[in-house]
């Protein structure tokens, strides 16, 4: 693996390799000492041009459990505010001797651009605009596989703001590659302009889709990105597309409900639903560390 920019860089075999290696790291997470010397001497920088505490903490925990040195960069305290370009920032950080860069940016494609600017660093997409969030989709698949045994043949519902969701784009690629069928359920104003080439079905009646679903992936309504203006009111959105307590009754008892966090309780998920046994949100967070360890290990230690 040269870089991890998109789930499509991996293919089915690549995804399965990440999940297999992540199993081993999940076990490391249960040991008395949750740390291995694997990437001793390697340096990993997290370059977060957009705030995201949880993703950053997850990557940094992963890097530290691999014994890598971690350099944490965030825009708030950086020269970007003084007008430095992303390219100059990347070149500066790489020159400090980094082996991998985890890049998060509000603009789609920045990790792809960064991969063209670096000389020898590996680049991991930590979420770019509406484009992709590959490690999130991988940890979702890992968690679902942990609960359900396999992904092949499962029916996955992706519900909510698909238009602005990098998670949805990565999930569609990952679930499809692993043999699941994906149905998007969203208001028309929150669907991408074109789904040409997407291996998905589209449904508009959540009540009709829920009983058939093995996996329900709830997306966050990104109110801070103005997604609120794409629906008349949050109340109406919740009424049509929220996983309310009533709708939760329609779920198969073995269904798995995932959410990339942070959850907005009361909008896309009712508070008591978030605490149902089918909801695996905290397990996703735990597995996120193992999956990111696997990704960093495969990039920096997997092969010569």
């Amino acid at each position: 693996m040269t870089h991890l920019l998109s789930v499509s860089d991996l293919g089915r075999d690549g995804i399965e390799e990440v999940l297999r290696v992540a199993e081993a790291f999940a076990e490391v997470g249960t040991r008395p000492i949750r740390k291995v010397p694997t990437l001793r001497g390697k340096a990993i920088a997290t370059l977060f041009f957009e705030d995201s505490t949880r993703t950053r903490l997850s990557f940094e925990t992963a890097a530290k459990r691999l014994s890598a040195d971690v350099l944490s960069f965030s825009v708030g305290a950086s020269s970007v505010k003084k007008g430095e370009s992303v390219r100059d920032t990347v070149e500066t950080i790489e020159a400090m001797g980094m082996d991998a860069l985890v890049v998060r940016h509000a603009s789609a494609g920045v990790p792809v651009q960064v991969s063209r600017w670096v000389r020898r660093c590996k680049v991991v997409n930590g979420g770019d605009g509406w484009h992709e969030h590959p490690t999130q989709a991988l940890l979702d698949c890992f968690t679902v596989r942990q609960v359900r045994g396999q992904i092949e043949g499962l029916r996955v519902l992706v519900v909510g703001d698909v238009l602005h969701s990098r998670v949805a784009r990565s999930q569609v690629l990952a679930y499809h590659a692993l043999g699941a069928s994906v149905t998007l359920v969203a208001p028309g104003s929150l669907l991408p302009a074109s789904l040409e080439g997407w291996p998905v079905e589209v449904g508009d009646d959540l009540d009709a889709e829920l009983p058939k679903a093995d996996v329900v992936s709830l997306l966050r309504l990104q109110a801070e990105r103005g997604s609120g203006a794409f629906v008349p009111t949050l109340r109406e959105y919740t009424a049509r597309f929220g996983l309310t307590a009533r709708r939760a009754q329609l779920l198969d008892p073995d269904a798995v409900v995932t959410h990339p966090g942070p959850m907005v309780r009361g909008v896309e998920i009712a508070s008591d639903v978030a605490d149902l046994p089918q909801a695996v949100v905290t397990r996703q967070v735990t597995n996120g560390v193992a999956v990111r360890m696997a990704v960093l290990f495969l990039l920096l230690g997997g092969a010569a």
Binding site: V21, E23, E27, V28, V36, P37, G301, A303
Partner: protein, 185 residues
Amino acid sequence: MAERERSHTRGRIFVPRTQVLSAADLHRALVRMAHEIAERNSGLDGVVLVGLQTGGVPLARSIAETLREAEDADVPTGTLDVAFYRDDIGLRPVLPEAVTEIPCELTGKAVVLVDDVLFTGRTVRAALHALSDFGRARTVQLAVMVDRGHRELPIRPDYVGKNLPTRRDEMVDVSEDGVTIGTLQ
């Protein structure tokens, strides 16, 4: 170990030349090593067997089985994958091959590491490092079916099935059918 050596040389296959232990020989060696373990530790209290993934795992299970029959003892038996502790990460493809499962806290225990072939000693070094993350064992001992020489580190086995002089470029394969010496081609 033999398994792992093979995975490092992708695209090449093991071509057997001479069988040095038959299946029966192998079994006899295992039984002897099991008895040596019980003798050396004055019984089996506090003994934990840990098979190295992947070649050492079936051997550790066989030793545990032998001890159950001969000594009526249920020796805790685990598995250990040392990929994350290897010193050649980044030099050649290293992937975890199977799960690590340590059955109990190791502090104060007598841990017997079990592997199929002892060669450079680097796997055992990695295993010693890994074990220390599961607690402070009272003692760690090493049982191998074949010691083929060519050590690169100051490591010696406590229990040996067979000492087998080899050339560096040869390969040793251990399976339930016995021990075979050959080359990679």
